[in-house]
Symmetry: C2
């Protein structure tokens, strides 16, 4: 496990993995599954997410203005889907799904120990929340599990099928204009 | 080739592929590469994209309020990177990269014949453009190449390396709450 500069959030999110999001309100933690997110800005880093009132986590996000974006890998595929198909109204999801909450550095919401990366975020701008449930988040800390073997993330095709990461194509030498982005994680 | 209901844009974009974006201003078409995009809403469909003044396409997008989001596959990997590393100021990118512009149904910007899907969009909301270069787009038409064999998309890891689609995990039977999303493309 290793702490990583929060400016590197784009390295975990631009590729479009399905993610989990934790919140905590009055000491009660919840987890949701989220497919609607994007990198908005490299630096200072900014992430866009859609979390709506249909999500139990919405109230905790609005109340605390904090959450953690957690990146799961393929070994967690069934849990990722099942977490998105039950509600924190009824269920303690950490308990039901056998996931381990760990304290975050900068926010009250917990990390999920089993995830590849945990990106702690605070709401930076919620002007678009009333119309579109779109929040802009500032990553404030990242913890990254650099020791785990399984690193393949999942990409939701929108219908309950997921594409698993395949091989990597390295075209870094062609990134003439964008070389500055090639920092080590 | 087949036309698809624009409400299905999420099926092409939620998984986070790197995309190309075409614009046309005063008859001059351009192409850019874009990694910063997300699905904002299923229906009516809404897509968030970041296109800034550092992109030559920005002026044409702002002027015409239209663009086409084109989804390339792995066979176009080098072109996708090279398109993102030169500027439409200097180059006719269709010509330089041997790509074929085709007329769109609803917008002036062209399709790219070689792409898996071409999603025609109009700006729906640009309130966040001045602060974040974030535009919300409404997909108005989709053409989909359902005959091509190569269907693997690319996911940008942010540093010039790209993850290629691997195998698919089908967890549709677990999508209890979200069954309505499982429409045929």
């Amino acid at each position: 496990m290793r702490d990583v500069d929060p400016v590197l959030a784009y390295r975990f999110l631009e590729a479009g993995p399905i993610v989990l999001v934790t919140t905590a309100d009055a000491g009660r933690a919840n987890i949701m599954t989220m497919g609607f997110h994007m990198v908005v800005r490299h630096a200072p880093p900014l992430i866009g997410v859609v979390i709506g009132p249909w999500d139990h986590s919405h109230a905790a996000l609005v109340e605390t203005r904090e959450c953690v974006i957690c990146v799961p890998t393929v070994d967690l595929a069934r849990k990722v889907v099942d977490i998105g198909n039950c509600s924190g109204d009824d269920v303690d999801k950490f308990e039901r799904f056998g996931l381990t909450p760990e304290p975050a550095a900068m926010v009250q919401a917990p990390h999920i120990r089993e995830c590849l990366a945990n990106i702690e975020c605070r709401i930076a701008d919620d002007r678009m929340a009333s119309d579109y449930d779109l929040f802009l988040l500032e990553p404030v800390a990242i913890r990254y599990d650099d020791e785990r073997k399984e690193r393949r993330t999942l990409h939701h095709n929108g219908d309950g099928t997921f594409t698993v990461d395949g091989r990597t194509v390295d075209l870094r030498e062609r990134m003439i204009l964008w070389k500055a982005l090639q920092k080590d994680i």
